[in-house]
């Protein structure tokens, strides 16, 4: 073997990346999930979800029966399938603007797992919280943890900043005072704010763990959801550009519109490639360890940018129609705005990824 060659990573073997292309089996999975969501969780149902109203039945039982929440978890905790399956399913959930706490539960389950905590009961809806708090004598105080889609959660995984990392606690919602629920952005995925004083968690990390490690799988899951939101918004914008005429031409014939949509397509595929690659590396980081450390951040940032861009483009391409409640455009915009920054803004993620690269610069390829 070459002496120069020893300085080169070997993450380059093409076979390791086969799952970047969906297998026939996985395409069938995606097709059946898409039909399931379209039939049972149509986007039209969102119009019945008004800001401020109590959420109705969220179809959670149906999702657990289908086994979606545990895709990508190990078999010994009741899981099935791979992280690549999970992101394929979550992309469909994003595309459908699923009004059920699938993403929330997936985030919480994967944070528990990444933190080395025991799994929560699979049939219960969970959610992930972020916020300040303290642990003492086996109890936790929470100073208003923000929980994405937390109004219907039965349990929470909360990530609390600590010295040199984060601590993670799993809490039973019935032990907590009722949260303050905000529905003004995305009422189908409300933000719940939880306070707690002296609550005994179901489980907690003994020492601080690195935030990058704890949040990595959750970032990939958020990315998958946002890729779906972005792709769904782009599809609708393209559909409208093919349908509506002005100045005697289809909107999509005008370069101002065409190029906006082309840029949206680039943003979606950029994010989709990063998200799929990140899913592959979640399970096989040894295929490219350096990339594995930063890719969840990059995928999340790219997916957030794609979703923010295409959902706002959708409104713009629809014009005045996009500003009415009769179109779905505002639903996509709301979903993107609420979810994109939950685990940090794109700029935060990019800066963090660069910091990881900086600290390993001496050992870079």
């Amino acid at each position: 073997m070459s002496t120069r060659g020893t300085q080169v990573d070997r993450p380059l073997i093409v076979d390791a990346w086969r799952d970047l292309v969906l297998s026939d089996e996985r395409r069938q999975l995606v097709g059946s999930v898409r039909r399931h969501f379209a039939e049972r969780f149509p986007i039209s149902a969102h119009h019945a979800i008004v800001p401020g109203a109590e959420p109705k039945s969220n179809g959670w039982g149906e999702l657990t029966a289908a086994g979606y929440p545990v895709i990508g978890l190990p078999e010994d905790v009741g899981g099935a399938g791979t992280a690549v399956d999970l992101v394929a399913v979550l992309e469909e959930a994003g595309r459908a603007l699923l009004a059920a706490p699938l993403l929330a539960t997936v985030l919480a389950l994967h944070v528990l797992r990444a933190a080395g905590l025991p799994p929560a009961p699979a049939e219960q809806a969970g959610a992930l919280g972020r916020g300040r708090g303290v642990m003492y004598d086996g109890r936790v105080d929470l100073d208003g943890a923000y929980v994405l889609d937390g109004a219907a959660a039965e349990w929470l995984a909360v990530v609390i900043p600590a010295k040199a990392g984060v601590i993670v606690v799993q809490l039973d919602v019935s032990d907590l005072p009722a949260p303050v629920v905000s529905t003004h952005i995305d009422p189908a995925r409300p933000i719940a704010r939880f306070h707690a004083g002296g609550v005994r968690p179901r489980a907690a990390t003994g020492v601080a763990v690195p935030e990058d490690v704890v949040l990595a799988p959750a970032r990939v899951a958020v990315a998958a959801d946002l890729v779906g939101v972005a792709a769904g918004a782009l599809d609708r914008a393209v559909e409208h550009a093919l349908d509506r005429e002005q100045f005697g031409k289809k909107l999509g014939a005008f370069q101002g519109v065409k190029h906006r949509l082309a840029d949206g397509y680039v943003a979606v595929e950029r994010a989709r490639s990063l998200t799929r690659a990140a899913a592959i590396l979640i399970e096989r980081p040894e295929a490219d360890p350096k990339t594995a450390a930063r890719l969840p951040l990059l995928a999340q940032a790219a997916a957030a940018e794609a979703a923010l861009r295409t959902t706002s483009s959708l409104v713009q391409v629809l014009g005045a129609m996009g500003m009415t409640s009769e179109s779905d455009a505002h639903l996509f915009f709301r979903r993107a705005q609420q979810t994109a920054g939950f685990l940090g803004s794109p700029a935060d993620c990019y800066a963090r990824a660069a910091e990881i690269a900086l600290t390993s610069a001496g050992s870079m390829r």
């Binding site: 076979d15 990346w17 519109v257």
Partner: protein, 368 residues
């Protein structure tokens, strides 16, 4: 995966390149003798077009193995070809469209770099709108008579041959009346004049004047009036693999930036975004290559030129911005930035790429 082929390729690189190549590959970019020698040795050993049949200097490797080898080579910074459009654009066109005589005469010298090629495409009135070209070629018995002018023709003054796109059927619809002719640039009636460059890091352009130039009828490449397909397919072949270089180039431009411990927040964000772009080029390239091997439609392929070229520019700008004032006295960074300006122009501008995505992928109507 044929790991033997990779090991063999690596062993070849160790033999063909100097011992300090790995640490000094940036300086070796200016060593034209090394680059020329490398190309010859790579061709002779079957590594230049490893997926091709042995008869054309290949090793019959599978598409997957060929891809793995090219990635391996790019990551090892193998020397860039001096006349890159020869092996990258012309040779695949010769292999696909050439007659047995054309292949026998032309393939080996172009692949070994013994004979350079120019691409005779743009004209003063026809840049992005290539199909409006006006250079005419009239078939007169056993030869064409060519009149017209090409411009911004890279390396024409150093090239022996040119794939000349000319109108052979003046009455046909725009795309349907064009043919590709193999022009010997040493023919009488050909006048090649270099054009001053915006900076020394920019490839050398020429004007090519064609005054009653006779081209033998046997030098027609592809079908008569079928030149448009030759142009499109040969450029697409180049785009198949160019993402590998884009990815590695962006990675390389970022490296000195990421070695600055005092990088401020704005520069960190930009560096991180470019890391995402580089990874997106890599994984979208792999996705589309693997998808094609699996017989799938690969619409995502069409983002690669746009994403690759725009990212290369942003990376060159970041490399220029990151050092602060010292960048003003360091010519290399500026020259790299100027060179990067061309990436969104040649091979189809970014605006044309957006049209392609809009029309071929999203199926939006044409407006032209």
């Amino acid at each position: 995966m044929n790991t033997d082929a990779i090991s063999e390729f690596v062993a070849f690189l160790d033999r063909a390149l100097p011992d300090d190549y790995w640490v000094r590959h940036v300086e070796y970019r200016d060593d034209h003798d090394l680059r020329a020698r490398y190309q010859q040795e790579a061709f002779d050993a079957g590594w230049l077009m490893p997926e091709w049949e042995p008869e054309y200097g290949g090793r019959d490797l599978s598409a997957a193995d060929g891809l793995a080898l090219r990635i391996e080579g790019a990551r090892r910074h193998v020397p860039r070809l001096l006349n890159v459009q020869g092996p990258g654009v012309v040779a695949p066109a010769l292999r696909t469209f050439g007659t047995p005589e054309q292949k026998a005469r032309l393939l080996r010298p172009v692949l070994r770099g013994e004979e350079w090629w120019a691409l005779g495409m743009s004209e003063p009135g026809s840049g992005s709108d290539l199909a409006s070209l006006r250079t005419s070629a009239r078939l007169r018995g056993d030869h064409f008579v060519v009149n017209g002018q090409k411009i911004w023709t890279t390396q024409a003054h150093q090239a022996r041959w040119c794939t000349l796109y000319a109108r052979t059927e003046p009455d046909a619809a725009r795309h349907a009346g064009i043919s590709c002719l193999i022009l010997d640039l040493h023919s009488s009636g050909v006048d090649v004049r270099p054009i001053g460059r915006a900076a020394e890091s920019v490839d050398e352009f020429c004007e090519v004047f064609l005054d009653d130039v006779r081209i033998p009828a046997g030098n027609l490449l592809g079908p008569l009036h079928g030149g448009w397909r030759v142009a499109i397919e040969s450029l697409e072949h180049e785009r198949d693999m160019i993402w590998i270089n884009n990815w590695v180039d962006v990675d390389r431009a970022l490296r000195p930036v990421l070695e600055k411990p005092d990088l401020d927040r704005e520069l960190r964000v930009r560096a991180g975004r470019l890391m995402a772009d580089a990874a997106a080029i890599r994984f979208t390239g792999l996705r589309s290559s693997l998808g094609r091997m699996a017989g799938r439609p690969v619409p995502e392929f069409f983002v690669l030129k746009l994403l690759g070229s725009e990212t290369a520019q942003a990376a060159a700008q970041l490399a220029l911005d990151a050092p602060g004032l010292p960048a003003l006295t360091s010519p290399e960074l500026f020259l790299d930035r100027v060179e990067s300006l061309g990436a969104t122009i040649y091979g189809g501008t970014s605006e044309i790429q957006r049209n392609i995505i809009g029309e071929r992928v999203l199926r939006l109507p044409r407006d032209r």
